[in-house]
């Protein structure tokens, strides 16, 4: 296990380095720059903008800028945001809570509903339930989140007045009830798509399992259908879901760009978009590296969990 972990760590560091080089290059080679937004208003002169670019070190050759950035981040200095004048890590952490709250809620909803819809769809294959679930999943996957979010706001917030039209809480009121009330809309919109995804994965995984010989054997032994389902089929069908969950883990903290924008949710996705629009290089690089680390950790956890849950894989990992 230790050798496995050390090997994975080495791989991960190499991957992180590649991500940083590619990310840095794309970000800096993209046209525009941090001064663009000041040019728009016409209130700053070219002299002012040139001076600021010089002071921020934006005029130095790209490899020099990258080397500087790399040296800093290896030493634990993630840089200071151009936009906020605050340390990048502090900005990232200040957005994590909102994203985690939203993503965890929607993922829990999605897994709970998705898994059961998938299981029942597989068990009652080609039934009316299965057909409806399949159509529903296809529709949910095809609906643009942006549009659906606005529809939810229009119907539930404006027409019915049941839900707030966005934001995380009412100013001055941070109570659980108030936060929960604000959470419903964006969490449901996000959960819609992932429920569909989870139900499709679960359905095909379950279909694989229930056609296996050991299920037939269990049935021939006279075990009740419910017991076969929960004790034999579900346990095995859930195994591949561990990988999917591992791949989903980074999402819990990296946020949803579109939903967070439509619902004014102050999370990571929103921060990423704002930082890119501003060309806030230190923050964008920070989020990029942070997300890359999450992806690697998520994969690692999935591999370890898989090893624990399935002895066959575990043996190889060791």
């Amino acid at each position: 296990m230790t050798r496995f972990l050390i090997g994975r760590l080495g791989q991960s560091l190499l991957l992180l380095w590649i991500v940083s080089v590619v990310g840095f290059a794309i970000l800096h080679l993209a046209p525009g720059g941090p001064m663009s937004q000041f040019a728009e208003s016409g209130n700053m002169t070219q002299a002012d903008m040139d001076r600021m670019a010089e002071q921020l070190g934006l005029n130095r050759p790209l490899p020099v800028q990258y080397a500087q950035w790399l040296t800093n981040i290896v030493a634990g200095d993630w840089g200071v945001s151009y936009r906020d004048q605050q340390p990048v890590l502090r900005i990232i952490f200040s957005h994590l809570g909102a994203t985690f709250e939203l993503m965890l809620t929607s993922t829990v909803i999605a897994i709970f509903i998705g898994v059961w819809v998938g299981v029942l769809g597989a068990v009652w294959r080609y039934s009316l339930f299965d057909s409806v679930a399949t159509i529903f999943a296809m529709v949910a996957l095809s609906i643009p989140t942006f549009w659906f979010g606005l529809v939810v706001i229009w119907y539930f917030s404006i027409e019915l007045g049941w839900l707030p039209a966005g934001s995380r809480m009412t100013p001055g009121d941070g109570s659980f009830a108030n936060r929960f009330h604000h959470l419903i809309g964006p969490a449901l919109v996000l959960a819609l798509v992932s429920t569909a995804i989870w139900s499709r994965y679960m359905r095909s995984s379950m279909l694989d399992v229930i056609n296996q010989d050991y299920i037939r054997t269990a049935r021939s032994k006279g075990i009740s259908e419910w017991r076969i389902l929960t004790r034999h089929a579900l346990r095995n069908a859930l195994l591949p879901m561990i990988t999917i969950l591992g791949l989903q883990l980074p999402n819990l903290l990296s946020g949803a760009l579109v939903t967070e924008t439509v619902f004014s949710w102050p999370g990571m996705g929103r921060l990423f978009l704002d930082s890119i629009n501003y060309r806030d290089y230190p923050t964008v690089m920070g989020i990029l590296m942070f997300t890359a680390i999450l992806v690697l950790i998520g994969n690692l956890i999935a591999d370890i969990l898989y090893g624990l849950a399935d002895p066959r894989i575990g043996g190889r990992a060791r």
């Binding site: 720059g33 663009s36 002299a47 001076r51």
Partner: protein, 554 residues
């Protein structure tokens, strides 16, 4: 040089017919409502107001670079020496009076300025505010190690002397009339805090301390900023206990939150034009169009082989159906304006020839100038085809429709125009600043702070693509305009300045270095019962007088 009329030069907008008819309709309605209900502000700060913004304020050091929405917060936390009211009059804030020649504030030659300061002002942490703070702020702006947002005017300061704790004097290298207006948007920062900090750039980044009507409360990054009433504020108000600025990135969502009552006011970028009519009928909400100094223009690159011909620009101008753009695309919200100055400016020339949409006239102009119809119905002259790109920022549906409409009518005069839109960060990068565009559809202002001086945009020495240091991205060069601009900067006499800028507007109307389409109005809204809101075209944001806002008592 005479500075006798300098008091008048503080009038940035004409007070009178135009102002009353235009921008101040809201003011009148407000005064009327106040008289009817005889509302008075509460004795102690009461209640809170939640204001929706479509951009997030993130820069809290007012001497560093910031955008409009950052200034929204600066206005509440910090104070300038003076500021400009809706009618253009300068109102003293930290200064005890506005410096003019008559009171000895500005010397006859315009080179020595003396400002007397209030003696009853304290910073939010209790430290007294003195002339040393003003000296420190002005020197910080000019400090080569400091990333100052804007040094225009400030860089002309030669020497600053604190004559006593409440009086400061400085000399300038050359007279500069727009400096009064620039100082109206220059906020003073606390010397004792920045000097004690390791880095002046981050000193005010998380817990700004100022002298303004509101003190810093808290910031939820990406969500909102809460400010509290400064009970020791030296001026009138504040009457609200709390002011919350909420960031809602998506304009439709912003409008939805306003409609559903989550926001008390939405100002600044406000409500999209397509909701204007609907929003006006909403019960319990007051929604109105307010004047804005920005102009929507087509900015031609005058180094483009076809666009450098003035006949081409005149023909293109003639062939823009501005009326249809305003009516059909912008729901009649905006107002025509053929000048580079806003209609409310005291320097606005209302005698300019109005725009007439006339395809035949445009065709005649091109025929006369020797542009002959060539292959595929595109005109040509000396091997140059009348073909170019028009660019703007992606994601603005209404602007994209306006582009389509222009391309249609331009096709009728033999111009082949393609759309080349890009994200904001790309457009406003080198593409804009090094004049790499053919034409840009852009909303911008041509003045210096609140002053009508457009030299930063029009001087031939202000072309970045040719090594200049201004914002003349059209690359316009005109000798008479240069002379007028230079005279305007050093002239304090308002009547003479008005003549100068009137003539300049005539030249621009004739030569069309910018092709004007309309002057902006913004749709702003608030809940009924929120008193004190007054739009101010001379402020960068209509939260400028938030200290005077209060809720009507039932």
């Amino acid at each position: 040089m005479t500075v006798s009329k300098s008091i008048e030069s503080m009038q940035f907008a004409s007070i009178g017919r135009r102002a009353l008819l235009g921008a101040s309709v809201g003011v009148c309605a407000l005064i009327g409502a106040n008289m009817l209900f005889a509302q008075t502000p509460p004795e102690t700060p009461t209640g809170q107001v939640v204001v929706g913004l479509s951009q997030e304020p993130t820069a809290f050091n007012p001497l560093m670079a910031g955008i409009e929405v950052d200034e929204t917060i600066w206005m509440q936390i910090y104070s300038p020496l003076w500021y400009s009211g809706p009618d253009g009059t300068l109102l003293p804030e930290l200064a005890a009076e506005i410096p003019i020649t008559e009171n000895g504030g500005i010397s006859q030659d315009g080179l020595t300025w003396t400002v007397r300061l209030r003696d009853d002002v304290t910073w939010h942490d209790g430290t007294p505010f003195t002339a040393e703070d003003v000296k420190f702020s002005l020197e910080l702006i000019n400090n080569p190690d400091f990333r100052a947002g804007n040094r225009m005017g400030h860089e002309l300061i030669e020497e600053i002397t604190v004559t006593n704790p409440h009086e400061i004097t400085w000399t300038m290298r050359e007279p500069y009339a727009p400096y009064l207006a620039l100082l109206a948007a220059t906020y003073m920062v606390p010397r004792h805090i920045i000097e004690a900090a390791d880095d002046p750039h981050t000193a005010l980044a998380t817990a700004p301390v100022g002298t303004g009507p509101f003190t810093w409360g808290a910031r939820a990054s990406g969500d909102s900023i809460t400010l509290n009433a400064n009970e020791d504020f030296f001026g009138d108000g504040p009457y609200l206990e709390r002011a919350i600025f909420r960031y809602i990135p998506e304009q439709t969502a912003l409008y939805a939150q306003f409609r559903s009552g989550q926001l008390d006011a939405t100002i600044g970028s406000g409500i999209p034009a397509n909701y204007f009519a609907e929003a006006q009928d909403l019960p319990g909400l007051v929604v109105e169009a307010v004047a804005n100094p920005s102009l929507e223009i087509v900015m031609p690159n005058l180094e483009h082989p076809a666009l450098q011909d003035v006949a081409v620009r005149r023909a293109l101008f003639s062939a823009i159906d501005s009326e249809a753009i305003i009516e059909a695309i912008y729901y009649d919200l905006h107002r025509p304006n053929v000048s580079f100055a806003p209609r409310e400016s005291w320097a606005y020339n209302d005698a300019l020839a109005p725009h007439v949409f006339d395809i035949d006239e445009a065709n005649r102009l091109l025929d006369e100038a020797g542009w002959e119809m060539g292959a595929a119905n595109v005109r040509e002259k000396d091997g140059v085809r009348l073909a170019f790109d028009i660019s703007t920022t992606t994601g603005n549906a209404l602007r994209e429709q306006a582009q389509q409409l222009m391309i249609e009518t331009w096709r009728a005069i033999g111009a082949q125009v393609s759309i080349n839109n890009m994200p904001a960060a790309v457009i406003w990068g080198d593409f804009y600043r090094l004049s790499q565009f053919d034409t840009l559809l852009v909303g911008t202002a041509f003045r210096t702070g609140m002053d009508p001086d457009p030299s930063n945009r029009f001087l031939s020495t202000a072309i970045p693509a040719q090594g200049g240091a201004g914002a003349n991205y059209m690359q316009w060069q005109n000798t008479e305009a240069d002379a007028l601009l230079q005279e305007g900067i050093v002239t304090f006499d308002m009547d003479r300045r008005r003549e100068i800028y009137h003539r300049l507007q005539e030249i621009a109307r004739d030569e069309l270095p910018i092709i004007p389409i309309y002057q902006y109005q913004l749709v702003e809204g608030r809940k009924e019962g929120l008193e004190g809101y007054v739009p101010n075209i001379n402020a960068r944001h209509n939260s400028w007088n938030m200290r005077e806002w209060y809720w009507a008592q039932d």
